[in-house]
């Protein structure tokens, strides 16, 4: 299940220990973001409780986007224990995300 996250709820959700948190930074006008969306949904189902997935709309949440230097979208950031662990810019196939996320499980 991929939940929505925003500027106000961000810190609280990221700082929970344990499972890695994956945030998909997207916007409505971004084509590749739309292509990535079903991939993120599939990953979320496959990881279940082992990882938490969120989507953040960059147009509506400029503070968080700027805080993490999101310059190109889609950008997917993996957080572990409240800290930024890895940034993946641009669409990539599901397997590529799995290889990255598995490092933090």
């Amino acid at each position: 299940m991929v939940n929505i996250i925003n500027d106000s709820s961000f810190a609280q959700e990221i700082n929970k220990d344990g499972a890695p948190v994956i945030v998909d930074f997207w916007a409505a006008w971004c084509g590749p973001c739309k292509m990535l969306s079903p991939v993120i949904d599939e990953l979320s189902s496959e990881y279940g409780e082992k990882a938490r997935f969120f989507k953040l709309n960059v147009d509506e949440n400029p503070v968080t986007s700027m805080q993490f230097n999101v310059a190109s979208i889609p950008t997917v950031i993996i957080f572990k224990n409240g800290k930024l662990a890895e940034t993946l810019v641009g669409f990539r196939p599901k397997q590529a995300f799995k290889s990255a996320i598995d490092k933090y499980i």
């Binding site: 991939v39 950008t75 810019v89």
Partner: protein, 289 residues
């Protein structure tokens, strides 16, 4: 959007066309993207003597032979430039700006462009450097954008960005008339380096430096790993197995884009292998292997 094709072939040089005819012979539903000259490189060749069966032939004559062959088989090219290929798992999405095509398998036969990236281009990719100005324009609202343009198509992108960004610099790498909005500043100079700290800050040209937050490099063809995100590249070429498969299931590559020697007959041979491998792949997924 049309229905899903069996195989999409990107490129109309000897590799792409050979893949096309071999796929067609195996009764696959194909779509081939290319250009009206088939191969800009081929038509410039003054004399070819090592293409078996066609000795002492000019590039244009060989290109005409290819053209007759595909026409004879009822293969028509789509003259659209694919911006991106997304591997969705059991199919591929091919995008031409907003338009989308779907195919179960893809053969990349895009050839080899010899322009090296600008210093800093790869380092700042995704941090201010991009290859699609219209895609990323809204991110540069009220900011400065520089466009390094290698062809006329870039002019339209520049105009689009100028409506959003604070300031747009247009650095043309080609001659001619530039149909650009008056508020876009044309800078006739050569890019040397893209620099900054975490993100792009300066585009250094030979004669001066531009303070800029975005740099878009707009060329004829897109590097294969930019075209197909997730595609494995080795030594500047798409990494393939002997059967022309890449690291992405269902995605194959053929021709100059897979490596040397850059020869027409080698490309045609690889196109055939790629097509036969794609056919095998399609049959295996249909049979649930």
């Amino acid at each position: 959007m049309d229905s899903r094709y069996d195989i999409a072939i990107i490129g109309s040089g000897p590799a792409g066309l050979s893949a096309a005819i071999n796929s067609k012979i195996r009764n696959k539903n194909i779509i081939v993207f290319g250009n009206v000259d088939l191969s800009k490189k081929l038509i410039k060749a003054p004399k070819i003597n090592n293409y078996l069966g066609f000795y002492d032939i000019t590039g244009v004559e060989l290109k005409d032979k290819f053209d007759s062959h595909i026409k004879d088989m009822g293969i028509n090219l789509i003259y659209e430039k694919i911006n991106a290929v997304y591997a969705m798992g059991d199919y591929f999405s091919l995008l031409v700006n907003e338009k989308m095509y779907e195919a179960s398998a893809v053969i990349i036969a895009t050839g080899m462009e010899f322009d090296k990236p600008i210093n800093g281009e790869l380092k700042f990719l995704g941090k201010g450097v991009g290859y699609c100005a219209t895609c990323d324009a809204p991110l540069y609202r009220n900011k400065v954008v520089s466009i390094i343009a290698y062809n006329k198509e870039a002019e339209e992108e520049a105009n689009f960005v100028s409506e959003v960004a604070d300031k747009v610099y247009y650095i043309p790498m080609y001659n001619g008339e530039y149909n650009i909005n008056t508020d876009v500043e044309i800078v006739k100079d050569i890019p040397v380096e893209i620099t900054g700290h975490e993100k792009v800050e300066i585009l250094k040209l030979k004669k001066k430096n531009l303070l800029t937050q975005g740099v878009f490099v707009l060329k004829d063809s897109v590097a294969p790993d930019q075209l197909v995100p997730g595609l494995l590249i080795e030594n500047g070429h798409i990494k393939v197995q002997r059967n022309m498969s890449t690291n992405i299931d269902g995605c194959f590559a053929a021709g100059d884009c897979t490596g040397k020697p850059y020869q027409y007959l080698k490309s045609a041979g690889e196109g055939q292998v790629a097509a036969l491998s794609a056919v095998l792949y399609l049959d295996s997924i249909k049979n649930g292997i």
